[in-house]
């Protein structure tokens, strides 16, 4: 196994072009476990820790451009207002030590359905900035996950950053594990309200071969909120609407039975999390609406 240590982003791209089988490593919280247990023995490891740019983030007008290696701890501590869903998801990642090293780039690169960041990225609306010596492209998050532990990256591409829409409304994130901390998701759910576009987006983790959105549930809820004038009147969402939304989210799952949980439990739990996160975000939205009315 050769260890490639590029000193800059350009060198990293060149190395990846030369050795498309090279496995990028940054925090090493996933790759090193695989190597230590001999589950994986890549020909080349491409160490990105010297590429300082990957640890930076920029808060723009519309988006946050989040470097691929920005550790979860930084997201929790610095980007809570802009990326509340992702910050909540970051809180649930493993232990403090792992959160100090691991970042979203690794989650995306591995593309495990159980990656904690995915539901938050799906719900917020994100684009993955992928680059190779051939150029840069932005891959919409909806098109990024292509199969179990597979993604849309070309063999010579590296993830430089992820562009996440700044929150324009409340976001929530829930994850079920059988321990109260430091646990891999049995299933997870992300929800973001987008009052500017009057839409709701979702993300489901660990309950299908890839992270997925519950699109039918979103469409149903978008229509129901519009029809009832909820975005304007800020009324409490009726229990029947919340239940239907929850049921549709559960129906969006395509889970399996495994050592962490049963398929039917996963479906059930996604439904519960959908209902609860909708309640939390909507209550928060109503609170905001009321306050802004007050100010006006």
């Amino acid at each position: 196994m050769d260890f490639l240590r590029p000193a800059s982003w350009e060198e990293a791209l060149a190395a990846k072009a030369e050795h498309p089988t090279a496995v990028p490593i940054a925090g090493g919280t996933d790759v090193m476990v695989e190597i230590n247990f001999d589950h994986r023995r890549p020909e080349y490891l491409l160490d990105l820790t010297r590429v300082a740019d990957l640890y930076e983030w920029e808060v723009g007008e519309e988006n946050v451009r989040l470097g691929a290696s920005v550790p979860y701890t930084q997201i929790m501590e610095n980007l809570r207002p802009e990326l509340p869903g992702l910050a909540l998801a970051s809180h649930t990642v493993a232990s403090p030590q792992i959160r100090n090293r691991g970042g979203v780039g690794g989650n995306l690169g591995t593309a495990s359905p159980a990656g904690d960041a995915h539901p938050a990225l799906l719900a917020a609306g994100a684009e993955v900035e992928a680059e190779s010596v051939r150029g840069t492209r932005l891959i919409p998050i909806d098109a990024f996950y292509t199969g179990v532990k597979r993604n849309a990256l070309a063999p010579d591409e590296l993830i430089r950053a992820v562009h996440v829409k700044k929150a324009d409304g409340p976001q929530q994130y829930s994850k079920v594990g059988t321990r109260n901390a430091m646990v891999i998701a049995v299933c997870a759910f992300g929800l973001a309200l987008h009052p500017e576009t009057r839409t709701v987006r979702t993300g489901i983790g660990s309950a299908a071969p890839t992270p997925v959105r519950a699109k039918t549930a979103e469409e149903f809820l978008n229509a129901a909120l519009d029809e009832g004038g909820f975005w304007d009147n800020g009324k409490v969402i009726t229990p029947s609407v919340a239940k239907q939304f929850a049921d549709l989210c559960a129906a969006a799952c395509n889970p399996i039975d495994d050592v962490r949980g049963t398929a039917s439990y996963r479906r059930h739990a996604v439904g519960i999390m959908a209902r609860r996160t909708l309640t939390w975000t909507w209550e928060s939205y109503r609170g905001t609406a009321a306050r802004s009315e007050g100010v006006a």
């Binding site: 230590n36 649930t92 929530q172 994850k175 079920v176 059988t178 321990r179 109260n180 901390a181 050592v259």
Partner: protein
């Protein structure tokens, strides 16, 4: 010459001299700071110049005939020094085992469980060894797997071990049953007639792992005399030695063992793991060989707690008195016997719990199956039984219409009660009092997740940091449980220990050196031995010699026994040293003061004093250049075997009791549990080190919580393969899963034991699990007859 305390007579309880750092004080562990700061050297940290690394190839299937093993490619690997299989074993002794030597050092002809050692490799780098092991080609012809009682005892069942000749085969109903122990007393059939209420239950206990943090590891160094020095993390050096030496073909004095840093044990190091393999490779290659399991291998490298099915029937009269108990306990011992016979003895003899019930018919068996071998783990058979009888107590109390605690108190045993084995409980048994104490503790406040601000503190809620509820669906429940555990090795086992104690003067200061073979596995023996020596010899400075086989056996660090038995041995040897010192003093100074002849003399603060406190001489003057050293064995009172048909007999040395009150909050919609508090009351006889006592109780309580809500090795019933051999999927409690554990310690002396002490390590592991389960049942109204409880069970999904 070894000197023994008289058998069967109570040890005199003496009030030790008040020397600083003596018994009863919370002196600190000598290894505490090193462990907390990461500087302590564990067995996996050892290194020797020129050493090789050993690697074990393990079976990928659970039950198969071995058709062939091809080691050619492995041997060709550069850097490989040796590859060994069964055929390379040097003597006719090719098996080992704690009681029944049924475990092959390397598989021969057949593998009986997933992960069984088949071949071993030594190479100059661990990676080389691992890769070479992977090149060994083993051809298996798979056999059907036996995974439960019905497949094990079917008339045409394949025998896991053919041609058994162990001493249990004569009394078991089927060769796939390791051991069977009935406990029969009174007449259950007629007692059942008196019952106004009868409660039956079937309970399932999952397979728990000890999950010690320091994986199996050791270093074998070949010696010039043809012997071997083995540095090893174990629970009992001399038991290892007796199993290792014959396989190597060496006399025991040529296998010199030294305890290295042990990272936890909990029963998982009672059986051998890599000891013989490392020695074989070291003797074969003439080089030191180190073997360290990684976490994955560790899950295959030691026995687990027996999973169990328990069938219980209790009766009670309408005024709440127990009439009878009929119980059947089926323990899955897996492929090899390990400690199964003794676990059967415990499960059956303690199967009625700490209650008065005169008509009893209990049967416990352990099966041979192709599941992972199971053996010793903290609580040892008493844990599984406690889970069942405590669930029964709640159901019965409800049937009778009594408060659940009051019902237990009404039926609680006390000093003088007859066990179902006919043994009289002849020391305090404060069962009702322990329950009263946990019940009397203040309840934790409701809804602790509410904060001054708007947001809920999710750390206080089920789901914790995963942010699954802000209070929705959360219901509180409270549950109680109490248990009974034996202390020490039972059923007639010669459960002695040995201590060598030396007193000498170094630089004008008297110093005691305590040398035992006791395995310090975290329990705190090294702390209390020093305390005992200070108390008995009146010195401040005590050196604890490293544990090795250059001194007699200390017995196992198991069964909550070390403070009792090796502590007793240290006390005894100190007393013998003290007698000698006083003799010396009388000879030298006797004529100067009449008190030398008439008064009771003590050693205190480095001086010989009368019981009135008058100083007669300085130890330094008494000893002058002389060293007083005594090595002596010490025994607690003997026990006897249980009758094979009736289970009657004076089987246990001592009983120990703990009670818990669990307060849980359950997210009833998601099936997630937060244990809010686990209050414990335990009688410890005498707390030699109160800080350590509380630590043991909190640790045992947490381990019991683990198997209540998360810890389980999952074995595929179709293949008998382990599905979750990692800390990713075998979950143990984090600090966010660990509740507040208020502890109420009782000290009611047991007059038979040194200082009146009672073993403490295991009892809290028993009642913790059923208390948590009772609290979850209380919150959800569900029956929950299995542990651990998973979200699926709570949500019906």
């Amino acid at each position: 010459m070894p000197s023994n305390a008289p058998l069967g007579t109570p040890t005199k309880v003496t009030q030790g001299s008040p020397t600083k750092g003596g018994i009863g004080e919370s002196t600190l562990r000598p290894d505490g700071t090193l462990k907390v700061t990461g500087e302590f050297a564990y067995s996996s940290d050892m290194w020797h110049e020129d050493m090789l690394w050993g690697q074990i190839l393990r079976s990928t299937v659970a039950h198969a005939e071995i058709v062939s093993i091809d080691t050619v490619e492995a041997l060709k690997t550069p850097g490989v020094y040796a590859v060994m299989t069964y055929d390379d074993l040097p003597t006719d002794v090719k098996n080992y085992g704690l009681e029944i030597r049924d475990t092959p050092v390397l598989a021969h002809g057949k593998v009986r469980h997933h992960g069984e050692p088949v071949a071993i490799v030594a190479a100059d780098h661990p990676e080389t060894a691992r890769r070479a092991a992977a090149k060994i080609k083993v051809e298996y012809r798979e056999l059907p797997v036996i995974t439960d009682e019905s497949s094990a005892t079917a008339p045409d069942a394949i025998l896991i071990h053919e041609g058994r000749d162990d001493h249990h085969i004569g009394h078991v109903p089927h060769p796939n049953i390791v051991h069977r122990q009935p406990i029969v007393r009174g007449d259950v059939a007629s007692a059942r007639e008196r019952a106004d209420f009868i409660v039956k239950g079937e309970y399932t206990f999952g397979m728990q792992d000890q999950a010690f943090l320091g994986p199996e590891s050791g270093l074998a160094v070949p010696a010039e005399d043809g012997g071997v020095d083995l540095y090893i993390a174990t629970q009992w050096l001399h038991s290892d030695l007796k199993q290792i030496a014959p396989v190597l073909g060496l006399p025991e004095d040529k296998v010199r063992m030294t305890l290295s840093g042990v990272g936890g044990a909990f029963g998982g190091r009672e059986d051998l793991s890599m000891q013989i393999h490392a020695c074989l490779l070291a003797l074969r290659t003439g080089k030191p060989v180190k073997i360290v399991y990684n976490r994955f291998e560790s899950f295959f490298g030691h026995v687990h707690r027996h999973p169990a099915k328990l069938y219980y029937e209790h009766g009670a009269t309408k005024d709440g008195k127990l009439t009878h108990l009929k119980a059947r306990i089926v323990l899955d011992g897996g492929a090899y016997a390990s400690a199964s016979p003794a676990v059967v003895g415990n499960a059956s003899s303690l199967g009625a719990g700490p209650y008065v019930v005169e008509d009893v018919d209990i049967e416990a068996i352990a099966l041979y199956t192709n599941n992972p071998p199971c053996g010793a783990m903290r609580g040892f058979g008493a844990v599984q039984a406690c889970f069942a009888y405590e669930a029964q107590m709640d159901k019965l109390a409800d049937e009778v219409g009594m408060d659940r605690v009051a019902f237990r108190q009404l039926n609680a045993m006390e000093q003088g009660t007859l066990m179902p084995t006919g043994q009289v409980v002849d020391s305090p048994a404060p069962v009702a009092e322990l329950l009263r104490r946990v019940q009397a503790m203040p309840m934790p406040p409701e809804q602790q997740w509410l904060t001054a601000g708007e947001a809920a503190d999710v750390r206080q809620l089920p789901g914790g940091l995963s942010n699954t509820t802000h209070g929705e669906g959360v219901v509180r429940g409270v549950g109680y449980a109490v248990g009974i555990k034996n202390v020490g090795f039972s059923e007639g086992f010669d459960d002695y220990s040995t201590a060598k104690v030396r007193l000498e003067v170094v630089g004008g200061e008297p110093v005691a050196v305590v040398h035992t073979a006791m395995a310090e596995v975290g329990q705190g023996g090294v702390t209390v031995h020093a305390q005992i020596a200070r108390t008995e010899l009146g010195v401040t400075q005590v050196t604890i010699h490293p544990a090795d086989t250059q001194v007699g056996s200390a017995g196992s660090t198991s069964a909550s026994r070390q403070t009792y038995v090796t502590g007793g041995a240290v006390k005894n040897s100190c007393e013998l040293v003290r007698e000698k010192v006083l003799e010396l003093g009388r000879r030298k100074f006797g004529t100067y003061h009449p008190a030398w002849a008439t008064a009771e003399l003590l050693l205190e603060g480095g001086k010989v004093v009368t019981d009135g406190g008058e100083v007669l001489a300085h130890l330094a003057d008494v000893l002058e250049g002389e060293t007083v050293e005594i090595e002596a064995e010490w025994r607690h009172r003997p026990t006897e075997a249980f009758d094979l048909h009736t289970g009657q007999g004076f089987g246990h040395v001592q009983y120990t009791f703990a009670a818990h009150r669990a307060v849980v909050e359950v997210d009833t919609e998601l099936g997630l549990v937060k244990v809010i508090e686990l209050a414990c009351a335990q009688d410890v006889g005498k707390a030699l080190n109160p800080l350590s006592v509380v630590g043991q109780i909190q640790g045992g309580t947490t381990q019991g919580l683990g198997v209540a809500v998360m810890e389980e090795i999952i074995v595929d019933p179709k293949t008998a393969k382990v599905r979750n051999p990692s800390f990713t999927d075998y979950l143990i409690p984090t600090i966010l899963d660990t509740p507040t554990i208020p502890v109420d310690v009782l000290e009611l002396a047991d007059d038979h034991a040194p200082y009146g002490l009672r073993g403490i390590g295991e009892a809290p592991t028993l009642s913790s699990t059923p208390a948590v389960l009772a609290a979850i049942r209380n919150a959800t109204g569900l029956e929950l007859n299995r542990t651990p409880v998973r979200p699926e069970h709570l949500t019906g999904t």
